[in-house]
Structure formats: structure tokens, C-alpha cells
């Protein structure tokens, strides 16, 4: 291990700022959230890093600083959901009780007037149904909604949740633009296989829906098929025969009926997927990548940051949750351990020696954790220079009420 050249965690004295490297700018979330040009904030990252909590905390802070915010959550923990008044999954944004304005600070009180917070939990199937109802004639819609294949796709296809989260975002944005009910939408992203899934799923479903395969499937359902397919007839036979063998005839027929019924709305699907994609690239949108100070979560964050750059999507910065802080930073881990050993070896120890030894060992362990997290985070920032970072200290308690969220929000916005 390299010799420590600085105290275990100077960051304690400077919470909210990154721990290393003068070149790393602090992520100014307060500035981002109070900037009226910011209309959409997307929180993304690996599972289990505190994405939903971060989204909820940002929404609460924004509301208490004058924004009319709505938080779209995907799969919140039960008690967090309860704290937001989300007792049912009904796909409707509802006001969160207990949201106030910032007391005490003159500026906050002035800014805070007129803020509000709504929250909602995504109902993926309901959202899909709404899309169908909106884009198809009532007859067609009823036909689609009753199709067994549709019912399975709309409730269990792995990408549906991602697609519908984006669809819902589009809807909320349209509603916000129309009646001004919200001026800030904060989105939590689905607990995907990979954090990148939600970027890809809409495109995947979109390209499937107007792709060759769909046309092939829909062809037999129409009298005589399409002339353009004649040249592929051998291939078509191979495909339909194989599908029928593997999937079974009934499933294939359901799929074909579904596809035929959907035919009229392909354009609509595609268009919406494109619109949402464009929305994600717009300057009014900001991505906040959330991570924990662990190897895997930071690696995922790193992939994500790279991908957002590739797509030209606006990355505001990185939030690193659950950072270990030490309250006695002047005592290094190694010094604390050495002192603990000495105390343990001493012949004429005091009655409190065991306690002191425990305190020293605990301190050493916390300081080592803080050091390791600092190294991991530094590795991220070295790989992504110029991406602002904010760190949120680990809380001794789990977060499940508005006060807990306010504390998280305070740490998130400290850099501003």
C-alpha cells in the first residue's frame, strides 16, 4: 500500500466536494435544479445504488425551492413509496403531502413560493394500453387489448418497462408543456439488467415494430401477402416453418393477429420512440448518473457516462452515494491500528482501555473504507475528466421519510 500523504478523509471537512484531484468540478445540483431551463432530470445507474432515493430527494428539494416538480418512479421500496404517498400503483401523479418551502433562509423562502411535488409509480401495462387506445381506432384497440400475445408482451417483455418509462416521460412532458402543471420532471430509470437497457429498449422495440420481421408476420394475415416478398419466398418459408416448429402454431397465429391489428399504429410507435429519443438529447434534459463507491457500480457508471457522450446526451454529472466519512480525520488508519495494538499489549491498562481500543479499531476500519472509496472514485474521475461529481455521505439509517430525503438532498446540493 502506498504511504498515505494526506489524512484519511479530508473530505469530511468539505462534504459535497470530490475528494481528490483539483481538476474535478463539484456537481452543482442546486444550480441545475433551480435553473428554469432544466425541465427533465434522468437518474440512472446500476441496481441498488440509491437511484430512486436520489430521484425523490432531488424532486423534494426542487419543489421546496419553487419548482413544480413531478417524480416518476419505477419500482420504489415500499417505505420510500409510502413516504411519497404512493400507496397504490395507479399510474397517476399525485401530490406529495408535507412538502413545504425552505424556512429560515430569506432567499429560500422567496424562491420557495409556488413549488409543488407530485409523484407517481409507473404501471407498465396501463401505459402500454393507453398508447394503444390513443393510436388505434376503438375497434382495433379492443382487438389488440384482447390478444393473448399482446397481454404477455405488455406485462412481461423485459424491455417493455424501459419502453414504457420513456413513453410516460414523453406523456408527462407533453402535459407539462400544455398546462404548466409541472416545470420539472425527474425520472428514475428501471432496475435493468444493465443501466444502458433503457436507452436501447425503445429503439429495439421501435425497430422491431417497423422491421422486416413484422412485415413478414403480417403478410400471411393479408390476402395474398405483399408483392415485395415474392423474391424472399424461400426465406419466408424457412422463417415461418421454423417459427411454427419452435413457437407452436397457436402462438404464431396470435402473433400474426396482433401484428395485423397493430399495423395501423406502427408509424405512431416509431414516431414516439423518435420523439422521446430527441427529448433525451435536448438541452432541457440533464442526466445524473448515480453510483455507490464500489467497483461494479462505478464501472457501470463509467460505461454509462461513455455511452451518453456517444449519443450526445447531456450528462450533468455523477452522484456517488453512501460515501464513508470519518469524524476524526487527523488520525490515520495505520496510526490508529498501531495505537490499538499498543493498548492491547499494555500491562497496566485503564478500565476504559478495551473501549478505547475498540474505538481505534473502528476508526481504522472506517478510515480504510473511506480511503478505498476515495481511490475507486478517483479512478472514475481520472477516466472521465471533466465530469462533475458530488458525494453523499452514508446515512446510519435507511431513508423512508421526507426528513430523510431532505438530508440526502442537502448533501446532494451542497456543492452549489
Amino acid at each position: 500500500m502506498p504511504p498515505r500523504t494526506r489524512p484519511a478523509s479530508k473530505a469530511t471537512l468539505n462534504a459535497g466536494a470530490p475528494t481528490s484531484g483539483a481538476s474535478v468540478a463539484p456537481l452543482d445540483l442546486a444550480g441545475l435544479l433551480t435553473d428554469p431551463r432544466t425541465r427533465i432530470v434522468v437518474c440512472c445507474g446500476a441496481g441498488g445504488v440509491g437511484k430512486t432515493t436520489t430521484a425523490a430527494a432531488l424532486g423534494l428539494w426542487a419543489a421546496e425551492h419553487g419548482r413544480k416538480a413531478v417524480v416518476l418512479t419505477i419500482d420504489p421500496a415500499r417505505r420510500l413509496a409510502q413516504s411519497l404517498g404512493l400507496t397504490e400503483l395507479d399510474n397517476t401523479p399525485r401530490p406529495v403531502a408535507g412538502v413545504g418551502t425552505v424556512a429560515g433562509t430569506g432567499a429560500g423562502a422567496a424562491d420557495g413560493s409556488g413549488g409543488s411535488l407530485d409523484a407517481m409509480m409507473l404501471d407498465m401495462k396501463r401505459t402500454f394500453d393507453e398508447v394503444v387506445e390513443q393510436h388505434a381506432t376503438p375497434d382495433k384497440a379492443a382487438q389488440i387489448l384482447a390478444n393473448p400475445f399482446y397481454q404477455a408482451v405488455s406485462s412481461s417483455f423485459a424491455g417493455t418497462q424501459e419502453y414504457m418509462a420513456m413513453e410516460k416521460l414523453g406523456q408527462l412532458r407533453t402535459e407539462a408543456g400544455r398546462d404548466g402543471r409541472w416545470d420539472l420532471i425527474i425520472v428514475d430509470t428501471p432496475p435493468s439488467r444493465s443501466a444502458l437497457d433503457f436507452l436501447d429498449a425503445p429503439k429495439r422495440l421501435g425497430s422491431f415494430l417497423d422491421g422486416r420481421f413484422i412485415r413478414l408476420l403480417s403478410a400471411p394475415a393479408k390476402a395474398g401477402g405483399r408483392a415485395g416478398f415474392k423474391v424472399f419466398s424461400v426465406g419466408v418459408n424457412v422463417v415461418t416453418n421454423t417459427l411454427s416448429k419452435v413457437l407452436g402454431g397457436q402462438l404464431l397465429q396470435d402473433v400474426q393477429t396482433f401484428v395485423a391489428a397493430l399495423d395501423t399504429m406502427f408509424g405512431g410507435f416509431r414516431e414516439r420512440a423518435d420523439q422521446t429519443y430527441a427529448l433525451l438529447k435536448a438541452p432541457e434534459t440533464a442526466f445524473v448518473v448515480v453510483a455507490a463507491p464500489e467497483r461494479d457500480a462505478l464501472r457501470e457508471a463509467s460505461f454509462f457516462a461513455g455511452r451518453l457522450d456517444e449519443e450526445g446526451m447531456p450528462l450533468a454529472g455523477l452522484v456517488v452515494n453512501r460515501i464513508q466519512r470519518v469524524a476524526a480525520p487527523s488520525l490515520t488508519a495505520s496510526r490508529a491500528l498501531a495505537a490499538a495494538e499498543q493498548l492491547a499489549d499494555a500491562d497496566d491498562s485503564s478500565t476504559t482501555a478495551a473501549t478505547t481500543e475498540g474505538l481505534l479499531r473502528l476508526h481504522a476500519s472506517l478510515a480504510e473504507t473511506a480511503d478505498r472509496q476515495e481511490r475507486l472514485t478517483a479512478r472514475f474521475t481520472a477516466g472521465h475528466p471533466g465530469i462533475p461529481v458530488v458525494e453523499v455521505p452514508a446515512s446510519a439509517q435507511d431513508i423512508h421519510d421526507l426528513d430523510g430525503l431532505r438530508e440526502v438532498a442537502a448533501a446532494l446540493t451542497r456543492a452549489g
Binding site: 422463417v239 419452435v246 407452436g248 396470435d254 476524526a328 478505547t356 474505538l359
Partner: protein
């Protein structure tokens, strides 16, 4: 508690799940290593393309080909695979219909994408189907010679695992009869037998414990055989009960003076606020421990074999996996 000690010795397929961030990949890797150390031939499989296994063992990225990543002195072998849905489909088509060559045509028409990413349930049937195939594979040296003594599956997280394992229900919506359905039926028979165990990894925190309790209930409802609860990343109790009580009481004036005196005897220069800092951190730690004890009690109510793994200060690098594998063996998981 009748459920406490499941007979894990008969288990050939270990399914490891857990909430995101609890370290299920690490635990799956440690379990596979522990089995390998017993001289077994073990396959460790991941199904989400995350390359968690290759990163944990520091080997080149894995593909759909079973690759040996470790040979133990005792003769055990650890093989690994990152199961790919497309490749599974190709194998499946070849094996059952001798139409593997049709793949390129299917691919060109987007049918492969359809089957592996969009058709509900089919992707999961393909992924778990590959694991099923490997677990049941024979070497050809007689019927009693399985290709692997054990298969460890790094499964999807708790939120999705029951849907993933409950392939029957998943395809039942779309395929009432037909080949996909019969494949799903055979997989389900194996998954529900005593040769399978589903282990749930958790931390002693509220959300992961809640998800664990929910997942166990869901697994029971779907007749999937429960294995152990693995409590990961446990910290050593660094405070004595006396110290624990002292810092929890928050009446620390006398203690502050005594600790400062103790520190002075071992030559620590006690700076302003240092002792207060130590006690503040200890107070937070004690709060956390109290919370962990509550969560521990909730897990105990589940009446399952509970394995406890230490927090690795250096992460899984530097031999950490070996430490965990030993702990699993010592606590009777293998």
C-alpha cells in the same frame, strides 16, 4: 424450525439471487469456488451478459463457450460461461430440429431478435434452458457420469428472479402446447426438484432484507426449493458491549476524558475534537449495528439456514473470494 437445515448435499443446481448491490455475483463465485475446492467439476454461469464472473476471477471476458478458469490442486475444476440467448437458440434449434443452419435466414428477417428479446418469456426459457442442459448433461461414460458435479447460476436479482425461474407460467400465457412449452415443462421439473436450491443474498439493511423476505415468500408460492440466506458484508463487532452501551447512551463526558487519557498513554497526539470524532463515529456505528440486529431478527424468523460472510476490506481482489469460499464451506453451505 424444520426448514433450517436443508440437505444441500444433493443439490446440483445452485441458483444465487439477491437485490442489486448485495454482492450476489461475488457469492455465486465463492460458492462455485468452494465446490471446486471439494474436488468437484463445477460450472459457474451468468445469464445477463454483465461479465461479472470474468471480473471477479480476473480472467478474459467470457462468451457462450464453457471455459475452464481454474483448476484446483485437489482435482477440482471450475468452468464458466456467459450464457447468450442467441447462441442458446441456435443450439436449441440444432439439437431438436436440426435446423441450426436456418439461423442466418432467421437472423436476416429479425426473427432471432424477436425470439431473444421481444417474444415474452422465450428469452428466459432459452437462458435457463442452457443452464438446464449443462446441469443434466452426461459425459457419455455411462449414465451416472454427469458432465458437471454442480452448476452455480448467478441469477437475475430478486425482483426478477421468480419470473425468470418460473418459466412455465411465463410461457403458459403464450404457448399452451408446442415444443417451447414442453421444454419449459422439463426445465420446471428440474427446478422444482430437490437437486435445485435457490439461495438469496442480502445485506443487513432494511431494503435488501425486505426484498429477501418477499422473494422467499414468492419462491415458496411457486414451489421453488429454497436454499440458504446468505448475509453478506458483515462487519466485525469492533466495539465491546460495554463500549457499545457507552456510545449509545450519548453521555460521554467522562468517557471522553478517559479515552483521551488512554490515547495519551500510547503516544497519540490528541488533537482538538479527535475524541469527540471517534465517539461520534462509534455512535453512528452503534446505530447501524442496532439496525442490523433488528434486520437479523427479521431474517431469523424465516427459519432458514443462514450463512454469514464478512465484509472484505479490499473488495474481492487480493484473494477475497477464497476467504468467502472458506466461510461458505465452514458454515455448511457446501
Amino acid at each position: 424450525m424444520p426448514e433450517t437445515a436443508p440437505d444441500l448435499s444433493a443439490v446440483r443446481l445452485h441458483v444465487v439471487t439477491g437485490k442489486g448491490g448485495t454482492g450476489k455475483t461475488t457469492v455465486a463465485a465463492a460458492l462455485a469456488l468452494a465446490l471446486t475446492r471439494q474436488g468437484k467439476r463445477v460450472l459457474l454461469a451468468e445469464v445477463e451478459g454483465r461479465q461479472g464472473i470474468s471480473q471477479t476471477f480476473d480472467v478474459p471476458p467470457l462468451g457462450h463457450t464453457e471455459t475452464r478458469i481454474l483448476t484446483d490442486r485437489g482435482g477440482g475444476q471450475l468452468w464458466a460461461i456467459s450464457v447468450d440467448a442467441k447462441e442458446s437458440l441456435r443450439e436449441y434449434l440444432q439439437k431438436f430440429y436440426k435446423v441450426g443452419k436456418a439461423m442466418s435466414v432467421l437472423d436476416r428477417f429479425g426473427a432471432v431478435d424477436f425470439a431473444t428479446t421481444i417474444a415474452p418469456g422465450v428469452r428466459d426459457v432459452l437462458l435457463i434452458g442452457k443452464v438446464y442442459e449443462a446441469a443434466g448433461r452426461r459425459t457419455g461414460k455411462g449414465p451416472a457420469a454427469p458432465a458437471y458435479d454442480a452448476v452455480v447460476l448467478d441469477a437475475p436479482p430478486t425482483g426478477r428472479v421468480v419470473r425468470f425461474l418460473n418459466v412455465n407460467a411465463e410461457v403458459a400465457d403464450v404457448a399452451k402446447v408446442g415444443p417451447i412449452r414442453s421444454q419449459a415443462d422439463s426445465i420446471t421439473r428440474m427446478l422444482r426438484s430437490h437437486t435445485t436450491a435457490v439461495h438469496v443474498v442480502t445485506l443487513l439493511e432494511e431494503m435488501p432484507v425486505q426484498e429477501t423476505v418477499d422473494a422467499l415468500a414468492e419462491l415458496r408460492r411457486t414451489d421453488l426449493p429454497l436454499g440458504a440466506i446468505v448475509v453478506n458484508q458483515l462487519r466485525d463487532p469492533l466495539l465491546t458491549d460495554q463500549a457499545f452501551k457507552a456510545v449509545r447512551s450519548r453521555q460521554t463526558t467522562r468517557l471522553t476524558r478517559a479515552v483521551a487519557a488512554d490515547l495519551a498513554t500510547v503516544g497519540v497526539r490528541v488533537s482538538n475534537g479527535m475524541v469527540a470524532g471517534l465517539l461520534a463515529d462509534a455512535g453512528h456505528h452503534a446505530d447501524r449495528i442496532a439496525l442490523e440486529r433488528e434486520q437479523d431478527a427479521i431474517l431469523a424468523e424465516q427459519g432458514r439456514l443462514t450463512i454469514r460472510l464478512p465484509l472484505l476490506a479490499e473488495g474481492t481482489e487480493a484473494g477475497g473470494i477464497t476467504v468467502l469460499a472458506q466461510a461458505l464451506a465452514e458454515q455448511g453451505m457446501v
